[in-house]
Assembly symmetry: C2
Homo-oligomer: 173 residues x 2
DNA sequence: CGATAATTGTTATGGATCATATCAAATATC
DNA sequence: GATATTTGATATGATCCATAACAATTATCG
């Protein structure tokens, strides 16, 4: 967390090598220099992602939804009748790891597995009434508390540009 | 990983609800609709971050460096003489988890722990000669193969704008 | 048709990452 | 000098990510 605090005042020299500089006597904590790190795409991307997830969790804390769970609900709502493999793979989740995630949503009566009639191997996924209601509330919370935060921070135009560039990276990098 | 691959060999169908429609006869794979998911900041951020880390690993594969290890080397080079707690905390790494990371770098003779003379509790961190050489090569690989990829994809101006917005999110969200 | 291959959901499992509690040694504080 | 704090370290658990393997079902094709 305490990362890019952007070096406030480096009045003194940073590295003291091995010979002494009494910190307690001098007082200044002396922030580190990030240097080229702040220009590294991966570094800044990861930090931003952590902050965004953290904020997301706070915003929907009342509904007890993680970003992954929210994305599953969104995708199932938009594509009702798909099976586990389809939903999981489009989210980049491996099938084995998707089982526990679904178990959780199903145990909370947000989502249901239904045996397909034309392929009795697969489980068709649908949202329950409660799942739809929770998702609706989640969308509202995310829109008003989470995504709106971006507009305040970047402005509408920049926000759209950012999403566009990130999508491009996600798809074409 | 296999997310936005736009459904290659999935011989499935879209929403068939519970009643059957034979897919094998029809043919079309019919990709899922991402819907609002593609507008979710967290979703697209995470996907982009995974792609970028993946690409980073490929680019510096010859040096066997992870993004985290690279960031440690960069920060120690820029701030020689700092101790483990300082380096770890500015990277957002908890002290206990930083130990194994450092053990690795030290075992490969890229970094060294030196007992501080004025505080014999702390370990001063410095890069070894080999560490400096490896970091120099890593920087070159990252600049020419990794970061340059962004310019090709977004252009110089957009790349800078992207980094600026991500930094803002990382610091102010 | 029937033997074989492939798919679906699942379990088991291991690795990597992340967080907390705790400890000994050294230092700071009062 | 007694107590508290800091530093690096260990142990441990949670969570996430990836692979192998399995039973049930379906597809393939000889």
């Amino acid at each position: 967390m305490t990362v890019s605090k952007t070096a406030e005042k480096s009045s003194e020299k940073p590295g003291d090598g091995a010979k002494g500089r009494k910190d307690a006597a001098e007082g200044l904590p002396e922030a580190l220099q990030l240097g080229e790190l702040s220009e590294q795409l991966g570094y800044v991307l990861k930090r931003a992602q952590l902050k965004v997830f953290e904020n997301f969790l706070r915003c929907v804390a009342s509904l007890q939804l993680t970003p992954a769970q929210f994305s599953v609900l969104l995708l199932v709502e938009k594509n009702p009748g798909r099976n586990q493999t389809e939903i999981a793979s489009t989210l980049g989740i491996l099938r084995p790891n998707f089982v526990a995630l679904l178990d959780n949503l199903e145990s909370r009566d947000l989502c249901a597995r239904i045996r397909s009639t034309n392929d009795r191997r697969s489980h068709i996924l649908v949202l329950t009434d409660k799942g739809k209601a929770v998702l609706t509330r989640a969308k509202k919370l995310v829109a008003t508390k989470h995504e709106s935060r971006l507009n305040e921070l970047l402005g509408q135009a920049n926000r759209e540009a950012l999403l566009g560039m990130l999508s491009k990276i996600a798809n074409e990098f």
